[in-house]
């Protein structure tokens, strides 16, 4: 099989989905961010964003911390080491494929 095509086939499907790609790219650039920030930047509704975050958490790419800001619940999200490596690898493979 052509190397380029193989690179496309090897792309991480968890990250490759556009919604999750947005989330991972945004989290890659920061130490951590809250749910509201991701909702604001991605313009996704709460349900869609939650399902994408659950998928990323299942894959072991993000760490989710539930806390409070005063009396208001706050969900903090952080791309962990595995997630960072996976995103870097995804970018490299995508670059090679294109």
């Amino acid at each position: 099989m052509n190397q380029q095509i193989r690179n496309i086939a090897d792309l991480d499907r968890v990250i490759h989905e556009p919604g999750r790609l947005m989330i991972v790219a945004l989290l890659f650039a920061v130490d951590r961010a809250d749910f509201l920030y991701l909702q604001h930047e991605t313009a996704m509704n709460k349900g869609t964003l939650s399902s994408h975050l659950s998928r990323l958490e299942e894959a072991g790419y993000i760490a989710v911390t539930k806390t409070y800001r005063g009396k208001v619940p706050q969900t903090l999200l952080c791309l962990n080491g595995t997630g960072r490596r996976a995103f870097e690898q995804y970018r490299r493979k995508l670059k090679e494929a294109l």
């Binding site: 945004l26 920061v30 920030y37 930047e41 009396k71 619940p73």
Partner: protein
């Protein structure tokens, strides 16, 4: 790939979404201008010359913690919280070191260089930094950056006696020092005013287009 690159830039641009970065810069410029003016007007034997440094440090601390407090109460509940990665601090330290090096070189080579011209160069560097941090995200802010650059050039080419008059009746005796004082004072006032206008518009637009979320008390 470019779209991914844009996404990676988004959090950095979010830093000034509410205009607080510019307003902080404005308070810093106007505050420094005021402190500088007081320093110029104070008699040579005044204790103000010894304690002025605390005024500068106090102002920086006030801006740092004040901005943080406003963001916690206003920005984070509206559009979310972001904690930036360490490299941003590294850049700030590199910027501060660069500024200190420039000041150090200006002091060491003050006999050989045209110091007021150096002050204008520093003003251009500050304008460039404002362009990089504020205007990349919002295009109309290039107008502010352009106005800052134009003001820098106008101030640099103002006659010496006009600039010297600003520091004329101060204990600063030498004409080149009076010109430097005038350049710094005028530049800081103009930059501060422009950033105040630009930041004020950003803050107004931010408050207009975002809604404070309903508090969910548990």
């Amino acid at each position: 790939m470019d779209q991914i690159g844009n996404l990676l830039e988004r959090p950095r641009l979010y830093c000034n979404i509410d205009g607080l970065g510019e307003l902080g810069g404005s308070v810093m410029c106007l505050g420094f201008a005021l402190l500088w003016w007081l320093l110029m007007r104070a008699p040579a034997d005044s204790a103000w010359h010894q304690i002025a440094v605390f005024g500068f440090v106090g102002l920086v601390l006030l801006i740092h913690y004040g901005t943080k407090a406003i963001k916690t109460r206003m920005t984070y509940p509206r559009t979310g919280f972001v904690e930036y990665r360490k490299p941003l601090h590294t850049q700030a330290i590199a910027g501060a070191l660069g500024a200190l090096t420039t000041v150090g070189m200006a002091i060491v080579f003050r006999r050989h260089w045209d110091i007021p011209a150096l002050a204008s160069l520093a003003g251009l560097a500050f304008t460039g930094a404002c362009g990089y941090h504020f205007a990349r995200a919002v295009r109309w802010k290039w107008v502010t950056v352009g106005a800052m650059a134009a003001a820098t050039f106008v101030i640099a080419f103002l006659p010496t006696d006009v600039l010297g008059a600003l520091g004329g009746d101060s204990p600063v005796a030498r004409p080149d020092q009076a010109k430097l004082s005038g350049t710094v004072l005028l530049s800081l006032t103009v930059y501060g005013t422009l950033l105040l206008i630009s930041g004020g518009i950003s803050l107004w637009l931010y408050l207009r287009h975002t809604q404070a979320p309903v508090q969910e008390i548990q």
